[in-house]
């Protein structure tokens, strides 16, 4: 009898928690799950906005596999992503080491340092557009000051991807810094004390103590940064619109143009599915790599 009433109470408590999540479940199904399912459905149709739709099975995917313009966006996106992950990791670790020290006005300086990642990307992109101007831009002025020949920045097919990655790096290095800074704050002090007694120098301490300890956190930063860099849209679209030609057309830009310039909804939905698979695959590879690192330690 007592047991039964206890069980009943436990059951009603379980139910009570359902009421907490029910509104969110409803909202999430409406704005997140419904779009996923609908995207899958549309990707199997030949569908133009304003036109009629026709079921075509996997034809959209077959077409994508042979679409040279689409295929060229994949290595381009990976190149952009590689730059936008590696540079922030290196610079972010350096910045975290700096902010881990004590100095006057540290809070204020840190606030300024993280401002780029909270700023409106469109606004930032517009300012960079003006700074990249080949004749009048302030960046080329700086280059000539230190004796480096002027660059065409986003106006040349050779430099457009690194230039756009530069903006991405400028904006998102603070996120890596914050993650590493949190990791540094949690480190034990004992290994450093014994290393000092053993006469280790700063670099050795970083290389053999700090780096292995922050590596798991660094991998989190790498995963987040990879996912976000793959999806980068605002900066590329505002600064170069995928140009010159298609030299900076990443998967996301290609996708946007298919959907909202050419209004090929079925085709674009197939791109979304492929894009999602690429992001998921990379995320899983990195997660597995992170687990491996943990085991080897």
């Amino acid at each position: 009898m007592a047991l039964a009433s206890h069980r009943k109470k436990g059951y009603s408590r379980q139910n009570a928690y359902l009421w907490f999540i029910a509104p969110a479940v409803l909202a999430i199904f409406a704005v997140i799950v419904f779009p996923w399912v609908y995207t899958l459905w549309m990707s199997l149709h030949d569908w133009q906005i304003g036109g009629k739709s026709e079921f075509v099975g996997i034809e959209n995917f077959v077409k994508l596999a042979t679409d040279a313009r689409f295929l060229s966006t994949i290595p381009r996106t990976l190149y952009f992503t590689l730059l936008s992950v590696l540079l922030p990791v290196v610079l972010g670790v350096f910045a975290a080491e700096v902010f881990h020290q004590k100095f006057p006005l540290r809070g204020l300086v840190r606030g300024i340092y993280i401002a780029p990642m909270m700023a409106t990307p469109v606004a930032i992109a517009l300012v960079f557009t003006m700074m990249f101007h080949p004749q009048l831009g302030v960046l080329n002025y700086f280059l000539t000051l230190v004796g480096i020949p002027k660059s065409l920045w986003v106006y040349s097919a050779d430099t457009v991807i690194p230039t756009l990655a530069l903006v991405e790096v400028w904006q998102w290095t603070p996120l890596v810094m914050l993650i590493v800074l949190g990791a540094l704050a949690s480190l034990p002090t004992e290994p450093y004390e014994s290393a000092l007694i053993d006469g280790a120098n700063q670099w050795q301490m970083f290389r053999y103590i700090t780096f292995p300890l922050i590596l798991p956190f660094l991998m989190i930063a790498v995963i987040i940064r990879t996912i976000d860099a793959l999806k980068s849209f605002d900066i590329i679209y505002v600064i170069s619109q995928g140009g010159p030609g298609t030299a900076s057309e990443t998967i996301n830009i290609f996708l946007y143009l298919q959907a909202f310039s050419f209004l090929r909804i079925g085709h674009a939905s197939a791109v979304v599915v492929v894009f999602f698979v690429i992001i998921l695959a990379l995320a899983i590879i990195l997660l597995v790599a992170r687990e491996r690192l943990r085991w080897n330690r």
Partner: protein, 286 residues
């Protein structure tokens, strides 16, 4: 005598090292923070200069004399008050709804009652924004609300709900369960324990979640550029249009860019400390 000398030498070399260390640190701080400072400074500088100085080469760095013409111009010639109003309504409503549904949901997930939902939010976080936008765009056209503030607000829920849930889960997980358990033992039901005990403790977390969600929604460009109509443009869309129409007039574009991003930057100051303590790790950027 000799030992005194060498002791002094050691003292001097110690002080020298300390000073060198300080100078190196100062130099590193300047090196690290100068790119951020320069871009914002340049934005401000462009917005306060006459056009003739903006296209001068070599560039003019300090506006002399500074002018507010560019700001006057953007408010006179385009309807930035309306666009600002749109942005406030859309981001405000999307944040509010996200708090109403997201905070209790995060509580449920943190109590271990809805792991599946937590996973769903994770996957939502890695999905490209366009995969929501295309279906929602079609849906809004179908039910005839395309281009309205309502449609924009609904689309922004894609950004704000995962953000609120994400931040609040870590907040509720870090909270000590004793108080709540005491309340339950004393005869509160779960809703009362949540509303009277957990919510007040979590208030700072709710503030952070609200500000982060609001900033991300405010900064969003993609949903606005597709869904908004002429009269329902949000600020980032309006600024983007300003550039396409005024290719070479840098002053007004810079002024508009600064007006758009200023609220995000000001709000960031309020949550700066919380962002630093790691709350935002993994949660920033929808």
């Amino acid at each position: 005598m000799e030992s005194v000398n060498s002791a002094r030498q050691a003292e001097i070399s110690y002080r020298l090292k300390k000073w060198l260390g300080r100078i190196a640190l100062l130099f590193s701080v300047i090196l690290v923070v100068s790119p951020a400072i320069f871009v914002f400074f340049w934005m401000l500088s462009l917005s306060l200069k006459y056009e003739i100085d903006n296209i001068a080469y070599p560039p003019v760095f300090i506006p002399d004399p500074p002018t507010f013409d560019n700001y006057a111009k953007i408010f006179r010639e385009s309807n930035y008050v309306l666009y600002g109003y749109n942005s406030v309504i859309v981001s405000g409503a999307a944040t509010l709804i996200a708090l109403l549904v997201g905070v209790p949901a995060a509580y449920g997930i943190a109590k271990g009652k809805a792991q599946g939902l937590g996973m769903l939010i994770m996957v939502a976080r890695i999905t490209p924004g366009l995969s929501y936008l295309i279906p929602l765009f079609m849906l809004f056209r179908f039910i005839g609300i395309s281009g309205s503030l309502l449609a924009l607000t609904i689309s922004h829920l894609v950004i704000t709900i995962p953000m609120v849930v994400w931040v609040m889960i870590s907040f509720f997980e870090d909270m000590h369960p004793e108080l709540e358990e005491a309340a339950l033992v004393d005869g509160c039901n779960i809703w009362q324990a949540f509303y009277r005990v957990s919510m007040p403790i979590a208030r700072p977390g709710i503030a952070v979640a609200a500000i982060l969600a609001f900033i991300q929604s405010w900064n969003n460009f993609l949903f606005g550029v597709v869904i908004a109509g002429r009269e329902t443009r949000t600020l980032p869309v309006a600024v983007f249009n300003a550039m396409t129409f005024e290719q070479l007039s840098w002053g007004p574009v810079a002024a508009a860019a600064l007006v758009v991003t200023l609220p995000s930057l000001l709000l960031t100051i309020f949550v700066q400390r919380d962002i630093v303590t790691g709350l935002a790790a993994g949660s920033v950027k929808g």
